[in-house]
């Protein structure tokens, strides 16, 4: 178990060793976002701009326009909400090489409550032209995502969580920007892309990101035990979306269930619907927060209270099959 934010801190230190050009910024939350690990290792390339998120993004843009690879971190709610215009204008419009890596996203922030639980950040970032949006599900995928973001020249948003999460992806799995990952044993991406069949191969396909990937796997196993044929896939790259894999999944499945720790408006579920409806229409149920703000509570309680458990995914799948 490791929180994705911890994996981020470690990945930054590795990057800093390899690449002198990497500069990291934070806005007084370095102990929480884990950029403090980089600060300790490379104090000259770390800048804490204080509680000033707009300035954080502007300074990040200026550094990037001068050739630096910049990582700018704070909580997701402040990064994408408070500094939205700076991300839009100073970073994205300029195609600046800034990686906005935001921690404490979603309900699992927990007791801090609804004010601090970003549930619309994916929607905000996804709607900005040219922005890459990544939501890794575990520590290893986070490290891959950070590495891939650093290697890519342009703005990237990476969404991380506060709570420790188990390692979900099989060993040896490599994340790539723009590629989904098929998680069901015995099924490969290549199989799905190449197979031609008149009958659907799967009753339900679960497409998830972040903390919900684990729930998707559990739901898939539970339904398999009931005799249904299920597929689970991790779509950490929400933008660009792996439409090739998505359409293959849609072609081979009776229904799709999406799962994310985000509003059902504008996130992964929306991205999936927007894409499949135009090429391979198939019933889609979106599991997520149902257009409400969160509240205080412990992370597991909140996931239960807002319908984000494996059980909720099972129910959604059964409903989807009735559509």
């Amino acid at each position: 178990m490791i929180a994705t934010r911890d994996a981020y801190g470690e990945a930054l230190v590795d990057l800093g060793k390899e690449n002198q050009n990497v500069v990291v910024l934070d806005a007084d939350l370095s102990a929480s976002t884990k950029t403090e690990k980089f600060k300790k290792a490379f104090p000259d390339r770390f800048f804490n701009v204080g509680i000033a998120e707009a300035n954080l993004m502007g300074i990040a843009a200026g550094l990037a326009l001068s050739g630096k690879t910049v990582f700018a971190s704070t909580f997701a709610v402040f990064a994408t909400g408070r500094a939205y215009d700076q991300i839009r204008q100073s970073i994205a419009y300029t195609k600046a090489n800034v990686k906005v890596v935001a921690s404490h996203a979603g309900l699992t922030v927990g007791p801090d409550g609804g004010s601090h639980q970003a549930l619309e950040d994916i929607a905000l970032m996804r709607a900005i032209p040219g922005m890459t949006v990544l939501v890794p599900c575990d520590g290893n995928e986070t490290k891959d995502a950070v590495e891939a973001a650093a290697a890519y020249d342009g703005p990237v948003y990476i969404r991380l969580g506060r709570e420790p999460v188990p390692f979900v992806l099989p060993e040896g799995t490599r994340f790539e920007i723009g590629k989904g990952i098929v998680l069901s044993p015995g099924v490969t991406r290549e199989d799905l892309l190449s197979k031609v069949s008149d009958e659907p191969l799967f009753d339900v396909a679960f497409i998830a990101c972040g903390v919900m990937v684990k729930a998707a796997l559990e739901a898939s196993e539970a339904l398999s035990r009931e005799g249904l044929k299920c597929l689970a896939a991790d779509f950490a790259s929400i933008k660009p979306l792996d439409e090739e894999l998505l359409h293959a999944i849609a072609r081979h499945s009776k229904a799709i269930v999406t799962a994310e720790e985000h509003n059902v408006i504008g996130g992964l579920g929306s991205a999936v619907c927007e894409s499949v409806c135009s090429l391979h229409p198939v019933p889609v149920k979106r599991v997520g927060v149902k257009d409400v703000f969160g509240q205080s509570g412990e992370a597991p309680e909140l996931l239960r209270a807002y319908g984000l458990t494996a059980g909720d995914l099972v129910s959604a799948a059964k409903e989807a099959l009735k559509l």
Binding site: V49, N55, G62, L63, L65, G67, Q89, S90
Partner: protein, 291 residues
């Protein structure tokens, strides 16, 4: 008159000659500004004309270290036009400086033009930052100044702000950071023309006293007449290239400077002169002796 040595006298003659050249260029720039905005049918003449002398001194007075043939030269000085709506003045200066062909100036604000309504550094050679949403340029300049220091370059970063723009809170976040990081390679110039879209800055929402505010934020502050070319030249060339703290120049200007009916008139913030107005403006700006 104080006694001056021969060296000083030579410098004064030099300065006077340079000032003459800058003034000629400023005339050319003002004419371009009016022609471009007239042709576009929209744009912001008031703030473009108030900042023209400042930009002309920077680019034609030998203050900025730039190479028009190599706009992305790493050793160059950077200029962030934070008050991005004054883009026509910047475009005219960059074109006259040789960053791009003057022939494209009339395409301002037209579909497919590299000259966007507000500066776009991905489209226009010589533009160092994309701006337009007010209040963001000084932060970008702070980032550039930090990068300059990290790379051990002696380049300087200039940010040009409006006085109305100083109502944006982000300006002060950036000012705080510039001072905190002791960015002696950063100069903020405030085009202090006293007017914003809805009226006099003092009536809409006064950010005054601007110079005292920058001073209290840790800047070395200079107040200057923003249309006194000799004064601007003297000041800009005397500023330390990398001092102990950031510098702020509050340049008192007249919105619409150079076109009588636009001077000090709120209505010309963001309106294009048409027909008779355009003729009057260009007549007033007069014929220009193109070199």
């Amino acid at each position: 008159m104080p006694l001056t040595s021969c060296g000083n006298q030579a410098r004064e003659e030099d300065l006077s000659r340079t000032a003459g050249q800058v003034k000629d260029m400023a005339k050319v720039v003002r004419r371009h500004v009016i022609e471009m905005i007239g042709e576009a049918g929209s744009g912001h003449p008031g703030g473009s004309l108030s900042v023209t002398d400042i930009l002309s001194v920077l680019y034609f007075g030998g203050v900025l270290r730039v190479d028009p043939k190599n706009p992305s030269w790493p050793e160059r000085d950077r200029l962030v036009l934070s008050k991005g709506h004054s883009a026509p003045a910047l475009y005219a200066v960059l074109a006259e400086k040789g960053f791009f062909d003057k022939g494209i100036l009339p395409t301002l604000r037209k579909l497919g033009s590299p000259l966007q309504g507000h500066p776009d550094c991905r489209k226009t050679p010589g533009v160092d930052a994309s701006t337009g949403s007010l209040g963001q340029g000084l932060s970008i300049a702070v980032g550039m100044a930090l990068a300059t220091r990290l790379d051990g370059r002696d380049s300087r970063v200039w940010a040009i702000l409006g006085d109305g723009e100083c109502e944006e809170g982000q300006v002060w976040e950036a000012a705080m950071a510039a001072s905190h990081y002791k960015l002696g390679n950063l100069v903020a110039v405030v085009d202090h023309n006293g007017l914003q879209i809805d009226g006099p800055v003092a009536e809409v929402m006064s950010p005054e006293p601007i110079s005292a505010k920058f001073q209290s934020f840790g800047f070395e502050v200079h107040v200057v007449d923003g249309h006194d070319v000799e004064g601007l030249l003297r000041l800009f060339t005397s500023l330390p290239r990398n001092g102990e703290r950031p510098i702020c120049v509050v340049a008192d200007t007249i919105k619409g400077k150079g076109v009588g009916f636009m001077e000090g008139a709120v209505g010309w913030h963001g309106k294009a002169p048409k027909g008779e107005e355009l003729v009057r403006a260009l007549t007033e700006l007069g014929k220009v002796n193109e070199q």
